[in-house]
Symmetry: C2
Subunit: 580 residues, 2 copies
């Protein structure tokens, strides 16, 4: 391809609304242009990367036996009413009306439509298992779209749905998809990690996320460097840090803490380790009738609450912070001085399991300006309900017992999910088993964020000059930069010949025939991120030499004009093997 | 590919709402399933055909120098307000609101977005000409979606937009697209015709439609079998059937026609040729102030009014039929007895140019139960305004003077259009010319209905057993039907070997390993429309023979097992050459 027949649209400046590096670089490199908040045009180079990503996904999905089809963007409300998602989903589900005032929506995913298709088309156990997928435009009406295409509103996703006879079958289908995803991200040349995820409100029995590792990632990933344990922060299990409770050494005392309203201030003021303090958080759960039910959650002073874990406290699936009035009723003290000792008896006290094994601890006294020291379970207050409530922190013991955990950041690009029968039961998606008995199909669902992958790859691979693509995602594998292409016949001849040779060898090459000055031309290609560059100039040709440089190489090499073709082919193939 | 790993979903019965054969066959062959009115799931086989269509389009568009990008489905209202289409378009434009109550729409086409992109990205004449295209999902909220995917609501379209410096450049870009479209439909193996189209309300200076020829087509095409003249009925020019006006022979007479209210009845009653009668149609155009302006259009009794031509009568761009009160005011007679003689002086009389050359004609007398005979222009009534007002009919002289026209029916699958500066002027899409002066870009737009092409191809190619695909669109080129695949090792070995050989030769082959009975298996593949079929059975293998049959062949041929591979390859290649 020649640059003059392509559409290069590089920019010196990033748009002012671009907060993250991938957004800035995608606009500057001419991959995308914003049309409206969270809605983007994909320029030719951006679309080219999308097609490469799609092709890798499609090849591996087909290899894994999944079957491609295409479901509509615009879906009728009726199906979503059958599963309750029409009512349950928030305003991120864009509900619309057609000219006859009938309710439709723009699909964020397609569980309902594929389940409808399966219940109509699949009748017998002989047709199972089956796995359908599509690569299709999705829409989520994010309240605050941001990070360019990483949290956009209109985006492209690959979504697959497996149907099995039973849970055992689902586990097999799930593993096949897990392996395909691993292959897909490997082929893309990305550093990634599969992490255990929380099942969330959808239910189901197991789920893992695939994260591209990047310092700028939105999600924290807890992993063990000395094992394959990895989970997102929401789902990472925290073991108790104390094996058992030590015997009480101190008596409980009320101490004055006039302005100290958090554990760090209290520890500094009392000159004690923060690990001896306990923080008390009061939550309320509204009841259909009567006052809200109150819960006090206890964490060690240096730990943070994990909201997903809190939502699993019996009765706390949907909670909120207690109001000032509720705090006063439960503790008769202002926030900052709350504690579990002597609170109203109808407040349910739940301790993180590290807190449950503490003795002689410090907590709020339920009295303004005071804390209690030397507090001990069983002696000073009743034994609490004990659960895992906190976020993991660096240095925690790994739940698999194989060392301590570290935390890195990631960008979620894939999710595999054992749905079970949530959708098939709601929609009557059944098959006849070998005994002729009707059974609900057992489903899994599997997503990959196609457009999001572009942003994630750039967050992982970039420098101050631009994008560093893995070769399998790069819009072009090699750029030929001729100096004075239009003026020097010798340069033109050499550049054209190499261009044709590389095309013939199946290399995705672009010849920059725009006639830009060398500085601007090189800057463009470092910004766009071509993995390899060949510079052809008259001066070098005197000695039959051209310059060859990898995107991340410090220096270029002089290569003989007779050897450059083989050099490029070898470099591209070698880079490809590294990632496949 | 093996049928067991595909998803064949053939049906014995067509759905009751399927009116046309392509809709029936697409559902029965398992290409599509309806999700909602005008909204369809594309099952794996349907998607496979779409991909083949897309690939042909993409290859020819790229070859023609057009550049692919991707614009969003959901577009902000603001851009459409700039061109006035937000207000002007009817309810087929699906207008929606996002969670912040901002106005958006689901794109039916993308003129506004591409013009916005061009005005932002293109500054200089050096960047022109350029031609962008996308293959993207579109939505038109048809009042009554019908004919399956031929007039659906959600559909896929290839839309291209060219930008030029001037009209001369546009003409070149237009011709390049015209040639590319010709190549595209040729490669698809369709019988088609490019026809002159009316420019419609969009304005612009020239437009042609590409129609797939099919008896069931919605559109009438006027063409000359002995030249390359072709136009759709709306745009087909009708020459005057009378070269000049003959001298008056009769005096004007009032005759009683008690119950004869149309030309055919009058002609029969008076025993005269219908070609001597004139029909009078009264239209009204509402004015901002005062009563509506009235127009009487005159056509020969056997001719029909062409509404597009009528809309070009000065002042008649938006007209309606006159009301009873208006008819009374203009003619003082009931409908059925209207005529141009003696009508109110403020009624504008417009005669089709065949009528203008008639003499001694018959028309309504503006008196209930009476007509006038022997009417002559200039003598009995003033000379009218003369225009081309009628639909062409079979046997009319061809406008190019090369014979007489015939009429066939077609399905519009493509449209090329010289837009001019309608969008670029409305949106300020300008470039600096060589003199540094700002000029509006001159645009063209070019559409192909991707999903509609499937329906059109089937309307053109089918028989009572199913679809007859052109080979370039068929979901599979060849099916191997083994008898007792699971029971006969010999059959299985032969079928598997041929399957692998054909895959290796680049043939798109499917092996039916489902174990269906021969009758059901053959019926499925005739319904789906595989162009070639190989049947392998134990009986034939005794003599090392298999059966080979083209979809439209009356009989199958016995071919030696050692020759079948080459036979299939030769047949596929020969069929492909016929269409490329």
């Amino acid at each position: 391809m020649k640059a003059s027949q392509s559409f290069l649209a590089t920019l010196k400046e990033a748009p002012s609304d671009a907060e993250v590096v991938s957004h800035k670089l995608m606009v500057r490199a001419g991959l995308i242009r914003k049309l409206s908040a969270g809605i983007y045009n994909y320029l030719p180079l951006g679309l080219k990367v999308i097609r490469k990503v799609e092709n890798i996904i499609r090849e591996e999905m087909n290899r894994a036996g999944a079957i491609e089809l295409l479901m509509p963007m615009i879906q009728p409300a009726e199906l979503w009413q059958e599963t309750g998602r029409w009512e349950k989903m928030g305003p991120e589900l864009l509900r619309i009306k057609d000219r006859h005032e009938r309710d439709f929506l723009i699909q964020p995913t397609s569980e309902e439509v594929i389940t409808d298709l399966a219940r109509n088309e699949i009748k017998s156990y002989k047709q199972l298992p089956i796995n359908f997928y599509q690569i299709q435009t999705k829409f989520r009406d994010e309240r605050r779209p941001r990070f360019g295409i990483m949290r956009g509103r209109e985006f492209s996703m690959k979504d697959a749905y497996s149907f099995d006879r039973d849970v055992e079958g689902l586990k097999k289908s799930y593993q096949i998809m897990f392996d395909a995803y691993t292959k897909i991200f490997q082929r893309m040349g990305l550093k990634f990690r599969a992490v255990t995820a929380d099942n969330g409100a959808i239910g189901g029995s197991g789920s893992q996320e695939f994260h591209v590792i990047a310092d700028t990632g939105e999600d924290a990933i807890v992993y063990c460097p000395s094992s394959d344990y990895a989970a997102n922060l929401e789902a990472a299990v925290s073991l108790p840090l104390l094996g058992s409770r030590a015997a009480a050494q101190q008596s409980m005392q009320k101490v004055v803490t006039p302005t100290q309203t958090n554990c760090l201030e209290v520890a500094n003021f009392l000159n004690i380790p923060i690990e001896t303090t306990v923080k008390s958080l009061l939550f309320a759960v509204d009841q259909e009738k009567g006052p809200a039910k109150l819960f006090m959650l206890l964490l060690r002073g240096d730990h943070d609450l994990n909201e997903v874990k809190a939502s699993k406290v019996p009765g706390m699936a949907e909670s909120r912070f207690a109001t000032e009035a509720e705090i006063k009723q439960a503790c008769n003290a202002p926030a900052g001085y709350l504690g579990p000792v002597g609170i109203a008896p109808d407040v349910k006290v739940v301790a993180d399991h590290t807190v449950a094994n503490m003795s002689d601890f410090v907590c709020g006294a339920n009295l303004a300006g005071h804390h209690l020291t030397g507090v001990n379970w069983g002696r000073d207050l009743p034994e609490p309900l004990v659960m895992d409530l906190r976020n993991a922190v660096i240095g925690d013991p790994s739940p698999d017992g194989k060392g301590v955990v570290d935390i890195c950041r990631g960008i979620e690009v894939g999710h595999v999910f054992q749905l079970g029968t949530r959708y098939s039961e709601a929609m009557g998606c059944t098959y006849l088993d070998q005994q002729g008995k009707s059974q609900p199909m057992v489903m899994g669902c599997y997503g990959i964020g196609v457009t999001r992958l572009l942003g994630a790859a750039i967050e992982q691979g970039h420098d101050e000059r631009g994008i560093i693509w893995p070769i399998s995602m790069a819009p072009f594998e090699v750029v030929i930069c001729p100096m004075n292409y239009d003026k020097s016949e010798q340069v033109k001849a050499a550049a054209d010949q190499l261009h044709e040779q590389l095309i013939a060898a199946g290399i995705d090459v672009i010849l920059d025939d725009r006639g830009e000055r060398p500085g601007a031309m090189f800057a463009d290609w470092e910004l766009i991120g071509a993995p390899f560059r060949v510079v052809i100039g008259e001066r070098g040709l005197v000695d039959a030499q051209v310059e060859f440089k990898g995107r991340t190489d410090a220096e270029s090499q002089n290569i003989s004009i007779t050897e450059i073709k083989d050099k490029v082919i070898a470099a591209v193939n070698s880079a490809k093997q590294l990632v496949s």
